[in-house]
């Protein structure tokens, strides 16, 4: 260590101490009353040791953070981590090999198909939930990630889907399979009705209107007792396979699945069916969304997010393009709702609170807005991790919040970079005006 470095180190250490002391005092003010003085009826219990402990931890942490800045290795690591976060988008090169990706995707699909046979029923239900969130994440990704429309009421369409199957079964004898397209259409319709008047609005206003709409839907579901059952909720039917039911005892005339195949009854088969259907839909949707990005519709969404005025100058009707994104997202959420209701066997309005919208939004943002793989990973992280953290039930939400904040600081552009497809020069088909002129001589730009 050279002399100046030593000097710098001691200076940093001194600064660190000062910062740490400051952080400790602030922490003491923040944590002191809330943690040290516990309300009990109209009186107080004193636990003054707690805030001092926490302030100590904060001060120590702050000091170590400053100090770690002196170690070149730590500094380099930090710089590398932080540097990555600024490049949100990369472009593939035309020659890049796609084989690795294809193998990876194939492996994922095989794993996904085998998974239900390898895990317990409990984990199967968690996997179903995770896949539902993948579906929702992909849907909201279209709205927020691609089209750049901040939607805080996404859960409304999810609720529409869930209630379509539940109420449909109750009033019109709607089955699981018919409910999927019906819910998709009705949710898209709901999206259209909401969006058409508000899509001309500026971004953040759209956010609050959608938030309000989400709340309205939930409140109506909760209050319209005669139709929706209010807080008591509605039972939702299980799926059937070619008319075979997945119940222990079939309703009049039907044959349960397990009797038909001479198996012992287990609700595993029901979850297996839901999982497999859901998995196929998720894979198809993933492929669809992936292709969408390179389709005119998807490109128009992204262009709209990047610059609405330029889009209009190119003849793109921003209202209908936004509307298409909104409806597509709502449709996905509607399908997700059907699976959710069928999986849970029961729906009530408490499943469709703002927290749910925030969760889906967090999945999209943490995944990296617009990155499909990122959204899928984030959806799994957000459903599996809380389940694993069940032991720390009290701190679950706290950890969840801390992760959200830290992720935003560390990687505001999300977990994964967005990769854009590269285009190869195609075989010419476009009839070129002025072909008589040699192409390259005309492009004087070369000399610039």
């Amino acid at each position: 260590m050279s002399h100046t470095e030593q000097y710098n180190f001691s200076k940093t250490a001194l600064r660190g101490l000062r910062d740490a002391a400051f952080a400790g005092v602030i922490a003491l003010i923040v944590f002191g009353p809330m943690n040290g003085l516990i309300l009990d009826g109209y009186g107080l219990d004193f636990h003054l040791d707690r805030p001092f402990l926490m302030a100590g931890i904060v001060a120590l942490g702050r000091f170590l953070l400053t100090l770690s800045g002196c170690l070149p290795a730590v500094r380099q690591l930090r710089e590398r981590l932080m540097d990555f976060s600024h490049r949100g988008v990369t472009v593939e090169q035309p020659g890049d090999s796609q084989v690795r990706w294809k193998v990876l995707i194939l492996l994922t699909i095989i794993t996904g198909l085998c998974a239900p046979f390898l895990v317990s029923k409990y984990w199967l239900t968690i996997l179903i939930l995770a896949l539902i969130y993948v579906l929702l994440g992909l849907g909201l990704n279209i709205v927020v990630g691609f089209a750049g429309l901040l939607d805080l009421g996404f859960v409304a369409f999810y609720a529409v889907g869930a209630y379509v199957i539940a109420l449909g079964a109750q009033y019109w004898g709607l089955g699981f399979w018919t409910a999927i397209p019906v819910a998709a259409v009705l949710a898209a319709l709901a999206g259209c009705i909401l969006a058409f008047p508000v899509l001309r609005m500026h971004g953040d206003y759209l956010a609050i209107v959608t938030l309000g709409f989400g709340e309205i839907i939930r409140l109506v579901l909760n209050n319209w007792l005669d139709f929706t059952g209010g807080p008591n909720g509605v039972r939702a039917p299980s799926p059937t396979l070619f008319g075979l039911e997945f119940t222990r005892k079939a309703k009049e005339g039907g044959i349960p699945f397990h009797e038909y195949f001479g198996l012992e009854y287990s609700s595993f088969y029901k979850y297996l069916l839901i999982y497999l259907v859901l998995f196929v839909i998720v894979v198809a949707l993933t492929l669809f969304v992936h292709r969408l990005r390179n389709m005119p519709m998807g490109r128009a969404w992204e262009a709209l997010r990047e610059n609405e005025i330029a889009c209009r100058s190119l003849g793109i009707n921003h209202v209908t393009v936004k509307l298409s994104a909104f409806m597509m997202g709502a449709m996905t959420a509607g399908i997700g709702g059907v699976f959710f209701a069928s999986y849970q066997g029961f729906v009530n309005p408490t499943s469709f609170t703002f927290f749910e919208s925030a969760l889906i939004l967090a999945i999209v943002v943490l995944g990296g807005m617009g990155s499909i793989v990122g959204v899928i990973i984030a959806a799994f992280v957000f459903t599996l991790v809380p389940e694993m953290l069940r032991e720390f039930a009290d701190y679950r939400v706290l950890v969840f919040g801390v992760v959200m904040v830290l992720m935003m600081i560390w990687r505001p552009r999300g977990l994964l970079q967005i990769r854009r497809k590269a285009f190869k020069r195609p075989r010419p088909v476009y009839t070129r005006p002025g072909e008589a002129q040699p192409l390259h001589a005309a492009s004087a730009g070369q000399s610039l």
Binding site: D49, Y122, P231, R248, N348, A393
Partner: protein
């Protein structure tokens, strides 16, 4: 001193863990305790857990169920249906419980019970009073508490016959329990010839009910019946009294909590509140000793504590009697026989409801205690 305490705690926890692990490999029967251990209704979860823990300790020290020790498993549903479902699946699949004490909130019990039905695990709820819990014809579901319609009938009879009320305002909190209770009360009230003057819902979690209170005042009600929990009942009472509404406040067993008095603004406002509640479990002769034990530990066994205790006893006797952990058989045995618990003898009908409803009307006093109204 704190660190010493902590060490002792850690050591005892480690010992307990190793002990239970040792026993687990030998012979244990797992019983789940599912309820809101976190979230806004966590205090009910505490009651359940305390009651169940002591019951299990007692049974274990007396040799367990047929020689097997009981091991309790905590399941937190935070009173959310989605979490209740995950908890139920986890109890059944991962923990492999033989019986479940719970769930607490009716909105959680309804979806979760379907899982237990599928898995054939007996579920006895100590707190869900919504009629739908047992009305759906599930074979493994029992209820160790009353039904809202029983409770509603008792309340309606009392309001009309004893309070001689002519003008009744019915308020609920738009939740499965609260609205179910209010509707049951309203139905019987109408049946016996009194029409309510007001029927409204308030939003759970809000604290400003002034607009509603003014409406009650305008309706000139002499009884305000509220279906809901103490967290809304407290502020509602406070605002009623502040606006000078002096009708009788009448509610159900959802307000049984020590938090009610401070929330209602002190003894003056609590005085005279009426409620329906099962016979105070602390008054059973069989339970005297257990109540004393709880108090010795510094825990007042109020609310659902003893219900949970009694439920663990019932499940244990059911498993013992049926000599199997098959939920359907245990439930059948319990319905056919009866369980002797600290809350007296519990008998069930074919649906799984208690045969005898012991709902009575209680009146709160200025000091925050409540006693049977005469």
């Amino acid at each position: 001193m704190i660190s010493k305490q902590f060490k002792r705690l850690a050591v005892s926890a480690a010992v307990a863990a190793s002990l239970s692990a040792g026993i687990a490999s030998a012979e244990t029967i797992k019983i789940g305790v599912a309820g809101p251990h976190t979230g806004a209704y966590a205090n009910f979860g505490v009651q359940l857990w305390q009651g169940a823990t002591l019951a299990a300790e007692k049974i274990n020290s007396n040799g367990g169920i047929d020689g097997k020790q009981i091991e309790l498993v905590k399941g937190d549903d935070a009173c959310e249906p989605k979490q209740a479902l995950a908890v139920a699946n986890r109890m059944v699949e991962v923990d492999g419980v033989a019986g479940v004490v719970g769930h607490f909130c009716s909105s959680s019990t309804l979806p979760a019970s379907e899982i237990y039905e599928d898995a054939g695990v007996v579920m006895v709820t100590p707190g869900s009073t919504n009629p739908a819990v047992t009305d759906r014809g599930l074979s493994v579901v029992l209820r160790n508490t009353g039904r809202d319609d029983q409770q509603g009938i008792v309340a309606a009879e009392y309001i009309v016959n004893d309070l001689n009320a002519k003008r009744v305002a019915v308020i609920h909190d738009k939740d499965t329990y609260g609205q179910g209770l209010a509707d049951a009360m309203k139905a019987h009230l109408n049946k016996i010839g009194t029409k309510e003057v007001l029927y409204e819902g308030l939003t759970r979690g809000e604290k400003d009910f002034n607009a509603l209170v003014t409406k009650i005042k305008a309706a000139d009600a002499d009884v305000i019946y509220f279906g809901g929990l103490h967290s809304e009942a407290g502020p509602l009472v406070r605002q009623l009294r502040e606006q000078g509404v002096d009708g009788t406040f009448f509610s159900g067993d959802g307000i049984v909590s020590e938090d009610l008095m401070p929330a209602a603004g002190g003894g003056k406002n609590v005085d005279g509140i009426m409620m329906t509640f099962g016979r105070d479990p602390r008054t059973f002769d069989e339970g005297k000793q257990v109540v004393a034990e709880f108090r010795a530990k510094g825990f007042e066994p109020e609310g659902y504590t003893l219900y949970a205790y009694s439920t663990v006893q019932a499940i244990a006797q059911g498993i013992d009697g049926a000599d199997t952990t098959d939920g359907e058989k245990v439930a059948e045995w319990l319905k056919a026989h009866s369980a002797k618990t600290i809350m007296g003898e519990r008998k069930w009908d074919a649906k799984g409801d208690l045969t005898r409803s012991d709902y009575a009307v209680y009146r709160w006093n200025q000091d925050g205690s409540y006693a049977k109204a005469n």
